[in-house]
C-alpha cells in the first residue's frame, strides 16, 4: 500500500542494479500469470504507454466513431433548440397560428423539444454501447502482454 502512494520519480529510480539478464523472471515451465512480487521493475511500472495507445488504430477508430455521432448530434440539438426562441421572437405570426383546437405552433414546437431531447439521448445510448465495445477491445489488448489482471 505504501508503495502506491510514492511519487513516480522514486519508482523510476529503482535501486536494483541493472544486469545483463532479467534474473528475477519467473521460472520456466510456468505459464500462469506472475505473482506481483515476481514482476521485474519494468513490468511493475504499471504505466500504460499512453502515446502508443493514442496512436493505435483501434483508439483512433474509437475517437472517430464517437466524433461521428457527437458532433452532428450536438450541432443538431443546438440548432433545433435555438430555433425556438429565434422563431418565437422574430416570426410571431407563424408561431401563433393555431393547429389543433386552440393549441398553437409555439406550444407544439416547445413540446417537441422534449421528445427531441429524449430521442437524441436514446440514439446516443445506442451508439455509445458500440463505443463501449470498441473501448473494451482496446483495454483488453493492453492487458494481454501482462497476462491480464
Amino acid at each position: 500500500m505504501e508503495q502506491d502512494n510514492m511519487p513516480e520519480d522514486d519508482r523510476i529510480s529503482d535501486p536494483t542494479p541493472i544486469v545483463g539478464a532479467a534474473t528475477d523472471v519467473s521460472p520456466l515451465g510456468r505459464d500462469a500469470v506472475k505473482p506481483a512480487h515476481e514482476l521485474t521493475a519494468a513490468e511493475d511500472s504499471d504505466l500504460v504507454d499512453w502515446n502508443r495507445v493514442a496512436a493505435s488504430s483501434g483508439f483512433k477508430a474509437l475517437v472517430k466513431a464517437k466524433r461521428k455521432f457527437i458532433i452532428p448530434a450536438t450541432i443538431f440539438f443546438i440548432i433545433y433548440f435555438f430555433a425556438l426562441p429565434v422563431l418565437v421572437g422574430y416570426a410571431p405570426e407563424l408561431m401563433n397560428r393555431k393547429v389543433i383546437g386552440s393549441v398553437n405552433i409555439a406550444y407544439l414546437f416547445a413540446l417537441s423539444q422534449f421528445f427531441m431531447a429524449w430521442i437524441v439521448a436514446l440514439l446516443y445510448v445506442r451508439a455509445a454501447s458500440r463505443h463501449d465495445r470498441m473501448a473494451r477491445e482496446i483495454v483488453d489488448e493492453l492487458d494481454e502482454p501482462r497476462g491480464g489482471k
Partner: protein, 530 residues
C-alpha cells in the same frame, strides 16, 4: 400544529435517520466525497434530477407560467435540453478522468495550483449564489406557510439541517435525501397535474381553451383578457427593445450552464463507471423532462383555476403551485405540496453545500495549499466538514442580511451564467484542444467569472429605479447600464475567447504531451478512479 409542519417534520425525521445510517457506513475520503462510487444508474438519475429540480423549478417556474404564460414554459424547455450538453460532452469524460471535482479534469495536464485555485473560486461562487437564492426562498415560504415561524427562524432551521446532512452523512446521505425528495416531488407534481386535468373533465381541448382566455386585472385596475399560449408576455413588448436577445441569452445560459454546475457534476463521481454515469443522465432526462412537461399543468392550471389576481394577493408568484393545490385538494393537499417544497429546498442546499466543501477541501486545501498530499490521513474529509459548517453559516447570515424583500431570482441566473461562461469553456477546451494550457484555463475562468458578475451588476436585475411608493426591490437605484437581464450572450463568448486568447499567449509542452493520456483515459476509462 399545522398539517404542513407535521408533514415537514416527518420528512426531516426520515432524512435524519438516513444521515445516521450513512454516517455509520461512511469511512474514508471516497465514501465521504463520492458515496464509495456505489450509487447505481437509476439512483443517480433520481439524485441528479433531485439536485436540479430546485425550488426555482417547482415554485419558480409554476409561478412564471402562471403570471407570464408561454414565456415561463421556455425555461422548462431549456432546463431539459441542457442535459444533452451534459450527456454528449461532459459526463463520461469527467467520470473517466476525474476523482472528486471538475477541477480534477482541468488539472490533469495543466499546472494544478493556479488552475485549481480559479476552478475552486468559480465553484464556490456558483454554489454560494445558488444557495443564498434557495435560502431566501425557503425563509419566505416557511414564514408564509407555517404561521408563527418567522423568516429568520426558517432560514436558520434550513441551514442547520443542511449542515447536519453534509457534515455527518457526506455524499451518501446527501444522495439519498436527494432521491427521496425527487420521488416525492414527482409524485406531488403528477397528482397535481391529474387534479388539474380532472378539473377540466380530462379534456385537453377544454384545458387549452381556458389557457387562451386568461383574465386578470392590470396595474390600473382594468380587467384584461390574455391568450397565455401566445409567446411574449414577458419578453416582448414596446418597453422591451432587447426582449428577443434577452430570451436567446437566457437560453444560452441554461443550455451551456447546466454542464458547468458543480453540484450536478460531482454526482457523476458517485457512480462506478462512465457507462453508469451515462445511464444516470438518461434516467435524469426522462424524470426531468416528465416533470417539466407537467409544469404546463401546474403553471397554466394556476393561471386558469386560481387566477393571477388571487395569487398576487396571497403570497405572490412563488405561491402559485401551493395555492393551486389548495384550490383543488383542500388544506391537506396544500400542506402536502408545501412540505414537498421545503423538502426540495432542503435537499438542494445540501447538494450545493457538499459540492462547495468538496471543492474547497480537495481543490484548494489539499492540492493548492498542500501541493497534492494530505499531511495526515483523513485530513481532507475533516477540512470538508469544517468548510460545510462555514459555508452553511455564511449562507444563513447573508440570507438573513438580504431579507425576504430583495428579489433574489437573479442569483440563480447568475449561477447559470457563471457556470456557462467560466466552467464550460475550460472543460471543453481541456478535453478537446491539445494546445490548451494553464494560461488559457486561468484567463478563461477569470474572464467568464468576472464578465458574468459585472454584467449582472449592471443589468436591470440589480440596477433599476423602482417606482415611487413601491418598496425598493433593486440594490442599485439607477437606470441599468447593461440592457439584458441574462448576460449569457455576451459573457459565454467572452469566456471562450478568454480561454482561447490566453492559450495563444504561450506554449506549454508538458500540457500538450499529456493530452494523449487524458484523451485515452477520457475515452476508454483506463485507470479511472474506482
Amino acid at each position: 400544529m399545522s398539517t404542513s409542519l407535521l408533514m415537514f417534520l416527518g420528512f426531516v425525521a426520515v432524512t435524519l435517520i438516513i444521515t445516521y445510517w450513512a454516517a455509520r457506513r461512511s469511512q474514508g475520503a471516497t465514501a465521504y466525497f463520492a458515496a464509495n462510487r456505489q450509487i447505481t444508474g437509476w439512483q443517480n438519475g433520481l439524485a441528479v434530477a433531485g439536485d436540479y429540480m430546485s425550488a426555482a423549478s417547482f415554485l419558480g417556474i409554476a409561478g412564471l407560467i402562471a403570471f407570464n404564460g408561454y414565456d415561463g414554459f421556455l425555461y422548462s424547455v431549456g432546463f431539459l435540453v441542457a442535459y444533452l450538453t451534459v450527456l454528449l460532452i461532459v459526463a463520461e469524460p469527467l467520470r473517466n478522468a476525474g476523482k472528486y471535482t471538475m477541477a480534477d479534469v482541468l488539472a490533469y495536464r495543466l499546472s494544478p495550483r493556479p488552475v485549481r485555485s480559479m476552478a475552486s473560486l468559480s465553484t464556490l461562487t456558483v454554489s454560494t449564489f445558488y444557495m443564498i437564492a434557495q435560502m431566501v426562498g425557503a425563509g419566505a415560504l416557511v414564514s408564509l406557510l407555517i404561521p408563527g415561524v418567522g423568516f429568520n427562524t426558517a432560514v436558520v432551521g434550513v441551514g442547520i439541517l443542511m449542515i447536519v446532512y453534509v457534515v455527518f452523512g457526506g455524499m451518501l446521505a446527501t444522495t439519498w435525501v436527494q432521491i427521496i425528495k425527487a420521488i416525492l416531488l414527482m409524485a406531488g407534481t403528477l397528482l397535481l397535474s391529474i387534479l388539474v386535468l380532472a378539473h377540466f373533465g380530462f379534456s385537453f381541448g377544454n384545458f387549452f381553451d381556458a389557457i387562451t382566455h386568461v383574465t386578470y386585472h392590470d396595474k390600473s385596475g382594468a380587467l384584461i383578457p390574455k391568450n397565455f399560449l401566445q409567446p411574449g408576455h414577458y419578453y416582448f413588448g414596446p418597453n422591451k427593445p432587447y426582449g428577443v436577445i434577452d430570451l436567446i441569452s437566457l437560453c444560452m445560459a441554461l443550455v451551456f450552464g447546466t454542464a458547468g454546475l458543480p453540484h450536478i457534476l460531482v454526482r457523476f463521481y458517485t457512480v462506478p463507471d462512465a457507462k453508469t454515469a451515462r445511464k444516470s443522465v438518461v434516467w435524469a432526462m426522462f424524470l426531468i423532462g416528465a416533470f417539466y412537461i407537467m409544469t404546463t399543468f401546474l403553471g397554466f392550471g394556476a393561471a386558469t383555476i386560481v387566477g393571477r389576481d388571487f395569487i398576487a394577493n396571497n403570497g405572490g408568484t412563488n405561491m402559485s403551485a401551493p395555492l393551486l393545490a389548495q384550490a383543488l385538494g383542500g388544506n391537506i393537499f396544500f400542506a402536502f405540496i408545501s412540505s414537498i417544497a421545503f423538502a426540495t429546498i432542503l435537499a438542494v442546499v445540501a447538494g450545493l453545500t457538499i459540492s462547495a466543501s468538496t471543492s474547497f477541501a480537495h481543490d484548494f486545501w489539499t492540492n493548492v495549499i498542500h501541493r497534492g498530499t494530505e499531511r495526515k490521513p483523513g485530513e481532507e474529509v475533516k477540512v470538508a466538514r469544517v468548510t460545510a459548517c462555514v459555508v452553511g453559516v455564511i449562507s444563513i447570515l447573508i440570507a438573513i442580511l438580504l431579507g425576504q424583500s430583495i428579489n433574489v431570482a437573479f442569483l440563480v441566473g447568475l449561477a447559470f451564467a457563471v457556470a456557462a461562461s467560466a466552467n464550460l469553456p475550460v472543460i471543453i477546451f481541456s478535453l478537446f484542444w491539445k494546445r490548451f494550457n494553464t494560461k488559457g484555463a486561468v484567463i478563461g475562468l477569470a474572464t467568464g467569472l468576472a464578465s458574468s458578475i459585472i454584467l449582472i451588476l449592471l443589468s436591470p436585475s440589480i440596477m433599476t429605479v423602482d417606482l415611487p411608493g413601491v418598496a425598493a426591490r433593486h440594490l442599485i437605484q439607477h437606470a441599468p447600464i447593461f440592457p439584458l437581464e441574462n448576460p449569457g450572450i455576451v459573457s459565454i463568448p467572452l469566456g471562450f475567447l478568454g480561454a482561447f486568447v490566453g492559450t495563444l499567449l504561450g506554449r506549454e509542452p508538458e500540457a500538450e504531451a499529456r493530452f494523449a493520456e487524458l484523451t485515452v483515459r477520457a475515452n476508454t476509462g483506463l485507470g479511472a478512479e474506482k
